[in-house]
Subunit: 343 residues, 2 copies
DNA sequence: TTGTACGCGTTATCAT
DNA sequence: ATGATAACGCGTACAA
């Protein structure tokens, strides 16, 4: 090594391989115009030395960091963490690292904050999680700042290069049909908050199923929550006050579904004998409450993995990068919270 | 601006303030040897220009990134995410960002992986989460690589500068005493996995309480789990098979406690009438199962915040940085899973 | 196909 | 107290 500081630099490699820095640089960046023999010689030196390009220097020269940002606005912990796992899975073995950035959806400074963040860190790209992913201004901002981005959502929010989505509407329709096939005719909906695309898509799927079956859907059978356990309890109680009472409830996520289960128990309503419940997400809570919850498994990890691959695929995959899917299927997971209605 | 690329650089500031780059650099880095007048002039230009130092260039020159790493080995999602929140809270408003690094505790490559990671990214420092924080070799590695670190754990693992801990033993003793005061004499323990300091501390606290009360603790009343819901179920069933059956159970974390509740329901054992249960962590699941779980609130966010402040305090706080606490108290949260034993 | 010279934006050295 | 100049390690014109 030239210096004393430990890591070998590109100069060390160049000297030992008896070529110029530039040639080493070409090897690293897989330049096609290179003598095969030269490349091998350089690669051998690189291996022998254990040389790894310095990310800081690359970032400075390229005006772009080898970091993938994760922008989210704190939906629920399990989802965020699963997304992180998916992204890190896709990034493992590459030079990329993940940097996490929570934002406040309700703050008027949100866009400015993100702008500052992106300008400063010069990220390679960002993955944007729902629900903030539905914000078009944010996507435009990324575009403007020349920062790649992929949005994850419950519907096709953007063109295929900038989006990974799930088929919420379709799968909720299936879930609701499962309830209908069991014989339920009075089915309540605990829907997600206004302005969330996921809430909207899931409601549409719910309505699709009821419409196809010729079942009526009075406004009173729909109660809104905001994806938290507590609002699930409240919404359920509103539904329980109805007469006749619904014999089944679809909740737009598991937390609210857990709230419904909780509220039912408080009232002495037995699940699933008196009331069937289906949730959405398949977070751990779904399997851990009593009775275990029938729910929709949302392919979080796969979506995140696909998003990250879409972002860095060109770089790490070279020519061989497989195109990543833009729509990933959810599936119904049947457990014990659904039964035929009481006779 | 000199260039066209948007952000002003240190050169722009120097030119407009009619000083050298180095002087600007001194202003930025709060060098004490600076004419007050010069400093103010430069600061004004900096404000007017909206100049912000380029982190990539700084990283290269300083051989140190302005990034704080979070090293964890996937304990549970809620904890990891809360830790992230705590760290980001401490970092917000500073130039630091957080980069997340999960590792595999069981892999023989773990240390090598971390070494590569730290050498490459040249992090400013890392926060290490339990249980991997208990690994002394990892701390030594950080030391060797000249990377600051703070370990978070259930006991004092290191000197005050390198550690933030909770008082698990003490608070579990209190929790157990709560059970004893209710009249329970046959109390089971679902303990955490072997080799985890948290498991050990909590068990010690449990034993302390029983010993003080003069209660016997036959080996059969202790069942081991590995902090997952499923092992909680298994351990509970082992305890339920005992005759006489314990009238109360302390579980070393909430997930296992939820498993105990689940197992009890499967057997028709009513909580808390037939069985009292206390958990540990106060994750959301504790409040969302039925009955709501009495548990120990573990100050995760505060610990993470303190850890991050300890890491970057010297830099961002200047002289005024308050020393961060090294031991944070947990507290018992009483809900509905505890009652006097059946008569 | 390969090399030379310079730029990226900052900090450090050593003068003055 | 301040400034000229050289690192820091890599990428890119442009030349050879």
């Amino acid at each position: 090594m030239s210096g004393k500081s430990g890591q070998p630099t590109i100069n060390d490699v160049a000297r030992l391989a008896e070529v110029s820095k530039k040639t080493v640089s070409r090897v690293i960046n897989r330049s096609p115009l290179l003598n095969e023999e030269t490349r091998e010689r350089v690669e051998k030196v690189i291996r022998d030395l254990g040389y790894v390009p310095n990310p800081q220097a690359r970032a400075l020269a390229l005006r772009r960091n080898f970091l993938v940002g994760l922008i989210h606005d704190n939906p629920n912990a399990q989802m965020v963490l699963n997304m992180q796992h998916g992204i890190l899975e896709a990034l493992s073995g590459t030079d990329f690292e993940m940097i996490v950035r929570p934002v406040d959806r309700t703050s008027p400074m949100m866009l400015q904050d993100v702008r500052t963040f992106l300008e400063r860190q010069r990220l390679f790209g960002v993955v944007i999680l729902p629900p903030i992913s539905e914000n078009d201004a944010l996507a435009d901002l990324c575009e403007e700042l020349n920062c790649r981005y992929v949005r994850i959502g419950s519907a096709e929010l953007d063109d295929a290069d900038h989006m990974v989505a799930s088929n919420d509407r379709e799968v909720v329709r299936e879930a609701t049909e499962h309830l209908i096939h069991q014989g339920h005719k009075l089915i309540g909906l605990v829907e997600g908050p206004d302005g969330f695309r996921s809430a909207q898509e899931r409601r549409l799927g719910f309505e699709d199923a009821l419409k196809s079956a010729g079942l009526p859907l009075p406004r009173s059978l729909i109660a809104r929550g905001n994806y938290t356990f507590e609002t699930g309890v409240t919404a359920a109680n509103r539904l329980f006050d109805l007469s006749p009472r619904p014999t089944a409830i679809f909740a737009s996520n598991d937390e609210m579904a857990a709230g419904v289960v909780f509220a039912a128990r408080e009232r002495g309503i037995i699940v699933p004998d008196d009331l069937s419940i289906i949730g959405f997400d398949d977070t751990p809570i779904a399997a851990h409450i009593w009775p275990p919850l029938t729910t929709v498994r949302w392919p979080i990890v796969s979506m995140a993995r696909a998003a990250a691959r879409k972002l860095v695929g060109d770089i790490v995959g070279g020519e061989s990068a497989e195109p990543q899917p833009s729509v990933l299927p959810s599936m119904l997971v049947k457990r014990s919270s659904v039964a035929p209605p009481p006779s």
